[in-house]
């Protein structure tokens, strides 16, 4: 099987990256749908359309979620780097 020639390997890699990205985006989308509905849409349903307040809330909720996501991502990266640094220091001390 000559499946793994250069071109097909590159194509497959691109496909898998796209697939992975789509999946991650779907997960985030669904979390936002859930969280922002709780915070912005009252449950008494007096009308079919989103009124002005609800629309504004939804837009703001979305931006905030994106900001929070970025901050959490940075925080996790910072914390994991700290762990890596601690491990490196411990390894350095152990080998002395």
């Amino acid at each position: 099987m000559s499946y793994f020639n250069q071109q097909q390997a590159a194509s497959n890699q691109t496909f898998m990256q796209l697939e992975h990205e789509m999946e991650a985006m779907t997960d985030v989308f669904n979390k936002i749908i859930s969280s922002c509905h709780t915070k912005c849409i009252p449950t008494k349903y007096s009308e079919s359309d989103l009124n002005k307040a609800e629309s504004v809330c939804v837009d703001r909720c979305f931006s905030k979620y994106m900001i929070v996501q970025q901050q959490i991502g940075s925080k996790l990266q910072e914390l994991s780097q700290n762990v890596q640094e601690m491990n490196a220091e411990a390894a350095a001390r152990a080998s002395q």
């Binding site: 194509s11 349903y45 989103l50």
Partner: protein, 97 residues
């Protein structure tokens, strides 16, 4: 991510994946809607069918959720232009074949 690296075979795989995703998303949307509108609107339980008030509530609940969901989708697409461009490119190339 170089889209032009995709072979015709993998382009088809991508289109198939998108269609499958759309089906899954529609199913999920349906189940979410039913559960939500049931919890929020069905409160009477003394009659053999939904009351007119409950039916009206369910209709508004659906409309509102769909519009809400579409708005989030718009904001989301504005945020993720790269992916949207990729999708648009692959779809139009597929359509012109």
């Amino acid at each position: 991510m170089d889209i032009n690296a995709l072979t015709p075979y993998d382009r088809n795989r991508f289109m198939a994946m998108m269609e499958e995703k759309q089906v899954k998303d529609s199913l999920r949307l349906y189940h979410n809607l039913v559960e939500r509108c049931f919890l929020d609107c069905a409160n009477d339980f003394t009659t053999k069918t939904l009351t007119a008030k409950e039916e009206a509530c369910v209709n508004k609940c659906c409309d509102k959720f769909l519009k809400y969901s579409a708005r989030i989708g718009q904001r989301f697409a504005e945020q993720n232009t790269a992916m949207v461009d990729i999708q648009q490119q692959l779809i139009s190339e597929n359509a012109s074949q």
